[in-house]
Structure formats: C-alpha cells, structure tokens
C-alpha cells in the first residue's frame, strides 16, 4: 500500500466527502482550528515569556506551567482534530504542499524542544523556580519555542495561498 493510495482512501472517506459537500463545514473547521491555535500560542507565549524572563501572574515558573499546560494540551487536541478533518477533505493536495510539510516539521521540532526541556532543564526547576531570570537553557528553550510556533502560524496561513484546491 503506497502513501498515494492511503491518501486517496482518506480523501474518499464519507466524512471527507461530507466536509467537501457542506459549504459551511470547511470555514467552521477553519474557525475552530484558528481558535485552537490562538489558545495554543496564547498560553505557550505566557509560559515562554516567563522562561525568557518576563513576569507573568505567577512568580513560580513551575506553578505557571502546571496551571496553563492543561489549556495548551486541550487546545492542541482541538487543533489536531480540526486540522485532521481539514486535511482529510483534501488529503493529496495537503500532503503535496511544501508549506504543510514544513509546518508539520516545525510542530515536531517544537515538540522535541519541549521534551528536551522537560527531561533536562525542568528537572532542576527547584533551583531557579522563582528566579526573575531563569538559567540560559530555560531561556533558550523559551526563545526557540516562540520562534517555532510563530513559524507554525505563518506556514499555516501560507497553506491557504499555495494549496491546490481539488474541489
């Protein structure tokens, strides 16, 4: 089974067809996707800026992370579901789109950046939790995260201008 036949099968799903045929489905899914990404970016921004050294409503970085991360994850889940449905409605075109591929790459990079922070820098958070300026590794993770998520938003918007619309 090649990638092309899998993409074709996704495209042929009754659900994908329903999204193509209902004129309101695509804009509604897009709106949910934008809402989700603004929640993801908005909450990550507050955490990343705290890591870089800008004050948030919490002195403790760890408390801020545990308080906002559930919102980020729920919003990310909504972004995956709405994005997955948008993808399914036009699977071959998205898979062939350069900006779409780059966007997935940037999301993966942002995930790896977060995982590295979690297993290394965050381990020592007790030592710098309430410092106004966290250590270099934490600041670097914050800056990198902001750059990657900004790139995700730019690439996402660019898909709308470069995608071959097949329906």
């Amino acid at each position: 089974m090649t990638l092309q036949t899998t993409l074709q099968q996704i495209y042929d799903l009754p659900l994908s067809n329903a999204i193509r045929e209902n004129v309101n489905a695509f804009p509604l899914l897009e709106s949910l996707h934008v809402l989700a990404i603004t929640l993801v970016f908005g909450t990550i921004l507050i955490v990343d800026l705290r890591l870089v050294g800008y004050a948030s409503h919490r002195r403790s970085t760890n408390r801020l992370i545990t308080e906002l991360l559930p919102f980020t994850w729920v919003a990310f889940g909504l972004a995956i579901i709405s994005g997955g449905l948008l993808f399914a409605s036009n699977a071959m075109a998205y898979a062939a789109n350069t900006e779409f591929r780059l966007k997935l790459l940037m999301i993966a990079a942002a995930g790896i950046n977060m995982a590295i922070f979690h297993v290394s820098t965050q381990r020592t958070i007790d030592q710098w939790d309430e410092d106004a300026t966290p250590p270099f590794a934490a600041r670097a993770a914050g800056v990198l995260s902001l750059l990657l998520w900004t790139a995700v938003i730019f690439l996402g918007r660019w898909i709308g201008f470069t995608l071959d619309v097949l329906f």
Partner: protein
Amino acid sequence: MFVQSFGDWLYATPISSTFRVTTWIIPTVQSIHILAIAVVVGSALVSELRLASVLANDEPAGNVVRRYLPWLWRALVVLLLSGVVLIVAEPARTLGNTVFWAKMALVLFAFAATVLLRRPLLREDAPPAAKAISWLLLAVWIAVIFCGRFIAYT
C-alpha cells in the same frame, strides 16, 4: 452608497494595488493578525478566568488583570494596524461584508466592556453575577475569531 464608492476609490489607489500585487504582503499581514489575536486570547483567557474565579484564585485578581491588560492593548493596536492594511488591500472583501461589520461591532463591544467594567469587577463588593460578564467576554472573543475566518467566505 458611500461605503461602496469609498471602497472603489480605495481599491484604485496605488497603495492598494501595491499591497495586492506584492504577493507576500497579504499572507504576511494575515499571519501577524493571527499572532496578535493569539495574544488577545491568551491575555483574555487568564484575566477573565481569574475574574470568574476559575484560575489562580490565590493571586489577587487586580494583580493578574494588571499583568495582562497592557498585552491586550498592544495586541489590539497590532490588530488594528494589520487589519487596516488588509482593508486597504481588499476593500470589497471587507467593507461590503456584513460579517466584517459584525466583527467590528463585537470587537468594539469587548473593548468597551473591558475598559468600562474592569474597575467595578475588581471591587470587593462586586456581585457574583458579575462573573457572567467574564464568560460573556470570552465568548465574544471566540465569536470575533469565527467572524474573522468567515469574512473570507461571505
């Protein structure tokens, strides 16, 4: 109609056609517009949920709100400026569009409600029912996002 002729005049201006012909301008400005609405959503989420006593209740509400309000205003300025560029580039898409005017009304409402009600909501003797206003404002920002995307389809 005045709006129609103004839109036609705007469309014919050299700056409008420059924005359209330079292909990277509209996607770039739209991306900046989305980044700015993300800042609004982030600031509004934490502030309104604190006012609704859902989040960070051990921090004084005034501290939380004061921390994020400047970000909300800065983001709204960026939204206004990037939005103006998008209107200049494609006047017919926006000025003649009911969804666009609904969006403007909602933004104006959220802005006015934030300015006028923030202080009374922070008072110790604010009635519990006032918390409903925080939920309403969050709903309005979500409606603004939906209107923003639907402008492209109406």
